[in-house]
């Protein structure tokens, strides 16, 4: 049978014979990818505008909307704690907003159980808008109209990047469930 089709005994996650998933990888990949997303924006030096999208939030939304049921409802608290250490917002901001984001998506999911991708994108866009405007309001600095205008490029880039984040999450999910372990 293998002579006719070498992939006959394997699926998208690799060979189904004498291979198994790695439990460590399967559990750790979503959390680590979100934490990396939180850390990445500190690398570039942005002196004028907030240019880089909040990549940690984008990854959180990606995992929550592309793979519902994987992250627990309370995931916003520990992940927000890590984001707060690096984001530059006052401490506690991400713990609060990320917890609220998880609860909001949970609520939306009970109302609209069957969704298409563009509906998820719409949800993510509304949440990103709310998150960035709240961040402008509670930044610890003076919320001037000019800094609100300066937020627009970041907002547009972040909303447009959501599909990319969703594809990245899908790729990471395949990696996560690949059968690495030989049994």
């Amino acid at each position: 049978m293998e002579r006719n089709d070498p992939r006959s005994r394997s699926d998208a996650y690799g060979s189904r014979i004498n291979r198994s998933h790695s439990p460590l990888l399967a559990n750790v990949v979503p959390w680590v990818s979100i934490v990396i997303g939180s850390i990445l924006p500190i690398f570039p030096i942005a002196a004028a505008l907030p240019m880089i999208p909040p990549l940690g939030l984008l990854m959180l939304l990606g995992w929550r909307l592309v793979r519902p049921g994987l992250l627990p409802v309370w995931a916003g608290m520990p992940l927000g704690f890590v984001d707060d250490l690096y984001s530059g917002q006052p401490f506690g901001f991400a713990i609060l907003t990320w917890s609220l984001v998880m609860l909001a998506i949970e609520l939306i999911e009970t109302r609209l159980p069957w969704r298409a991708f563009w509906q998820d994108w719409f949800t993510a866009g509304i949440l990103i808008l709310a998150y960035l405007v709240t961040g402008w309001l509670f930044s610890g600095g003076q919320p001037t109209i000019h800094s609100l205008v300066a937020l627009v490029p970041q907002l547009v880039i972040t909303i447009l990047l959501f599909p990319v984040a969703a594809r990245l999450v899908a790729t990471l999910d395949r990696l996560r469930l690949h059968r690495w372990r030989a049994v």
Partner: protein
């Protein structure tokens, strides 16, 4: 995507409790976040230690990235230098000849300055920087404009010290940990800097607007004397910054002053130096509320 079945707990008590506990923890998390947020509004430095430790844990990566960033910038400058090299070279040579003449004049002025200061009995001591380090990162996704410095209290960096590049002022130290420090950049909305016009004594405050520009607010209102192209330097008032360091160039005139662009872009600098607070006594005096009397 189809919903997963995990939300329907069915008749299983365990599943029901798990689900309920999840919601309780999520709600408690939001509440804890709100309390921490309120705390950090009243005490912004409260979690500085945690943040400092977090930044030092990623400092090998940020230091490497900073080295690569400044290195690659030099590489691009080298390549763009070849574009119209001939005409640029001629223009630079003309400019340098004039600059040489001006430099000679400046040397004469400096010599005269030293002589006059000697007559008055003023001592002119060179300020030695506390530390020289790279800007290793910034809060590029937040509304606030902070940068992170690769030196901390182990190198002698303390809160309030001015940070400058060869071109001009970059910002002020806001938080220190043992090997890293947080810098409040001039463009942040909380940053206010006393400045004066370089060519005369027009004094003003330079406030960050939050969109990369500085707002120059004149102290003496009346006819606005500013013109686009005016250079503002630090005035030394307040005691934090030494006087005479370039800050900003006016680009636009408003009713009570102008809008200015910063001279020293932190993204374009290689190394920055941290200098001691110019007049610590004046800085302490300025930070003390009016109601309380200063001790001797």
């Amino acid at each position: 995507m189809a919903p997963t079945g995990s939300r329907r707990s069915g008749y299983s008590r365990r599943a029901q409790y798990n689900l309920f506990t999840g919601y309780v923890i999520a709600g408690a998390g939001a509440l804890v976040g709100a309390i921490l947020l309120a705390l950090s509004f009243f005490q912004p430095q409260l979690f500085g230690g945690l943040r400092g430790a977090a930044h030092e844990s990623v400092s090998p990566a940020t230091e490497t990235a900073a080295t690569v960033r400044t290195g690659s910038k030099g590489f691009w400058d080298t390549i763009t230098g070849y574009y119209r090299a001939g005409s640029k070279n001629a223009a630079l040579q003309r400019e340098m000849e004039i600059a040489r003449i001006r430099l000679a004049e400046a040397a004469a002025v400096k010599q005269e300055n030293a002589r006059l200061k000697g007559l008055l009995g003023l001592s002119d001591s060179e300020v030695k920087p506390v530390a020289v380090a790279r800007l290793v990162g910034s809060t590029s996704s937040s509304t606030r404009r902070f940068a992170y410095l690769g030196a901390g209290s182990d190198q002698g960096v303390a809160i309030g010290m001015p940070v400058r590049s060869p071109r001009g002022i970059v910002g002020r130290i806001l938080e220190t940990s043992s090997n890293s420090a947080r810098v409040l950049l001039l463009t942040d909305t909380e940053s206010v800097l006393p400045v004066r016009r370089a060519k005369d004594e027009v004094v003003a405050f330079a406030e960050g607007r939050g969109d990369g520009l500085l707002r120059i607010k004149l102290i003496n209102l009346g006819i606005n004397p500013l013109k686009p192209g005016d250079v503002f330097v630090t005035s030394g008032a307040g005691g934090y910054y030494p006087p005479g360091i370039a800050v900003a160039i006016v680009t636009e005139i408003t009713d009570d002053g102008g809008l200015a662009r910063i001279v020293s872009d932190p993204a374009a600098t290689d190394f920055v130096s941290v200098e001691p607070i110019y007049e610590p006594d004046a800085a302490i005096g300025a930070a003390t509320p009016i109601e309380r009397e200063l001790g001797d």
